[in-house]
Symmetry: C3
Subunit: 301 residues, 3 copies
């Protein structure tokens, strides 16, 4: 069976599987703890040992659902690398005190959020903590101070950001070492290729983590002219290589020289296996550019 | 009486009042020298000791009007920090040689402009000189040379820029130490929050100076959907805190982690006192984000 | 006869003529080898000793056409500085293997492309090699490795980029010393003045090379409102200085403090002489800003 390769996120950074099991929809899957455990075990069998979580997923329930599964298998934690996020406060029945959806990167909130994540997942530490969204009120010194405290207490091993612009990332990285920026990239979302996001990732040697690699599913459901162009080209390349179009969509991202990791979003192990299969495919430049041009609707300049 | 707190603009930089008396409309106020002196003395009583000027204000008349007031009170100068600007050449009856409004950051113009400002205000030095607008023809080495000369001659103590983009500021800062970028920010002008301007200010620890904090008055006069949304939210928060909406509008800016200074634009001491009152208020995150969302017309992502 | 001055492109960089003979239309000119040689000799007489080429010009024919001319005059090579580019693969009868127009900055392609350029032009080395367009798949380490190999083999003396954004340029410059970014700038293409491109050039002291200085000829042929405004102002300034409008259009670019070099695009020596004449003219600030405002359709802020 094919196994996902591993990658070091940044110089001195952690060693993760190149394919990451994203659990933001875990609550929607309506599974028993044993079924959730099975998915994780099947992922591990594919070499997908890195788990992506956030405090807010599933309306603040996803981490606990994952923790229930972990509790069924003592020793499983050591085989995993767990990523979680904080910094968003949702208006939600599970957080009745919140009156307005907002961001919060205050020291107290970051530390309390991590401690809550650890309790929910039944683990002593996170491998990686990300600030979920750029907070216009982020005090970089205060975040660095919170990160430092979390690291010294052994609660979090590495730190990063998500959805940060290059200047936001540069600001926080100037105060504390970051290992990744988790950003959206897909054949339906091209801006990181030329807005500086991936240039910065490559310059700092911080491998980006990519969310929504399949456009949140739109790649295989929408009927716009753009999506139809991309889908036709994916189908053609997939057929020539004897794989599914989703494999090619993941391979298109993995081809980038910033060495991106890809998150999956599905609860079906066959869908996760498609991302793993993509790690064995290196698209030719003509294939890669044909897809890029299909998305843009124009040839290169 | 409440007093404006003080702040150091940058490491090794000057110590200014957090609220700055902006005099760009001084000529419009049609006051006698004694009345102008009274306003400055009332401001000082509020801790507002920093004055914001520019060569061009009032069609090249504002500095002289201020100088007339200063001359009435020997010794007042030592209680003040005076900021002025140069680098714009207006087409104006007071400058008959100018045929086209343009920018000028040539060494000779910068030095001559400062010397003129000093004569008009009757002072020996400026505490801070700002390049008023980014000049596409700015030779950073030449500006640095002019700054160095002005500093060595004791005519200007610190230097900065105004309305510079992050790359323009980085260019000049690479040649000469700058302490601030004076930029527009208000609930009606949000770009600096995510275009890199305030990220850079925070990263370089250069406290920004903020002009048009009340949107040039539009915040309380316009009738657009955006302004009505913002005004309603300001009114609600102001009522709950027992202050005026303008106090909240200033507090919204002062909440930013880059430690902004705010300029006032009014000649009424009660209006200036509103900015001073704002320095005692720390908006909650929910208040701050509710205002941000009211301006944007959408909740956070 | 006026001669083009010389300029060092970057600290430790090469010494080029400020006016550069651009040969991207050489194939269109339909000239004999002797006629091509004559043009080069006439350019040299004007001090225009730097030649701008690219592998793809003329559908992969321009370098060979130039090489035929060079071969007629042994010893001419030493008087010239030759710039070429690589990194684009055209779909063209001369490259039947190409199925999709795309970029290629792989090590093997860069080295093979340079070796082909050298053979076509009959020379042992390039003075400067540029990556023709930003390649989203550029691995900066791999490009740096290729550059290093080319330099050690004596095949290329200096390196740069073309049409790179500031973050793309910063990425590659972090891995290998670059001496220039060749970009488009003209009275009909203003973005580099405020998108950070020329700020970066000035900050890094890398003189930019400017292509399409006359808007690809549109400056003297189009009938849009913008072009008519610019043309009227060019005509007025040209008349007052006793030169042609094209001289003023070049002088407008040469006035920039980043010390740009300008490429010509014409095969007429009189047109090249206009660029050379521009190097003797320093526009006043009022002239420069009047042209900028004519292009923008508004006065400065």
């Amino acid at each position: 069976m094919q196994q996902a390769p591993r990658i070091t996120l940044a110089p001195g950074g952690p060693d993760f599987s190149r394919v990451v099991l994203g659990l933001w929809r875990l609550a929607e899957w309506q599974r028993t703890p044993a079924q959730r455990l099975l998915l994780v075990e099947q992922a591990i069998a594919l070499g997908v040992t890195t788990i992506d979580q956030a405090d807010i997923y599933g309306g603040y329930t996803s981490e606990a659902l994952f923790g229930e599964a972990l509790a069924l298998s003592p020793g499983l934690r050591q085989q995993l690398q767990i990523v979680s996020k904080c910094g968003i406060r949702l208006v939600h029945p599970n957080r009745p005190a919140h009156g307005v959806k907002h961001y919060d990167t205050d020291r107290a909130h970051l530390i309390a959020s991590v401690e809550h994540s650890l309790r929910m997942m039944g683990t002593d530490y996170l491998d990686l903590l990300l600030i979920h969204r750029p907070d216009p009120l982020m005090d970089a010194d205060e975040v660095a101070d919170a990160f430092d405290q979390l690291r010294r207490d052994g609660k979090v091993r590495y730190f990063g950001a998500s959805n940060f612009t290059p200047t936001q990332f540069a600001l926080l990285a100037a105060r504390f070492p970051l290992v990744t920026n988790q950003v959206e990239l897909s054949l339906l979302h091209l801006p990181p290729l030329d807005d500086g996001t991936l240039d910065q990732a490559q310059q700092l040697r911080c491998a980006p983590m990519i969310w929504s690699a399949l456009g949140g599913g739109r790649l295989f459901s929408d009927d716009s002219a753009q999506v139809r162009r991309v889908r036709a080209k994916l189908a053609q390349i997939a057929a020539s290589r004897g794989v599914t179009p989703a494999v090619i969509a993941y391979a298109w991202i993995l081809r980038h020289p910033s060495h991106p990791l890809v998150l999956t979003g599905s609860g079906r192990i066959t869908a996760i296996a498609e991302a793993v299969a993509a790690t064995r495919i290196v698209l030719t430049r003509e294939e890669w550019f044909a897809l890029w041009c299909a998305s843009r609707g124009s040839e290169v300049a």
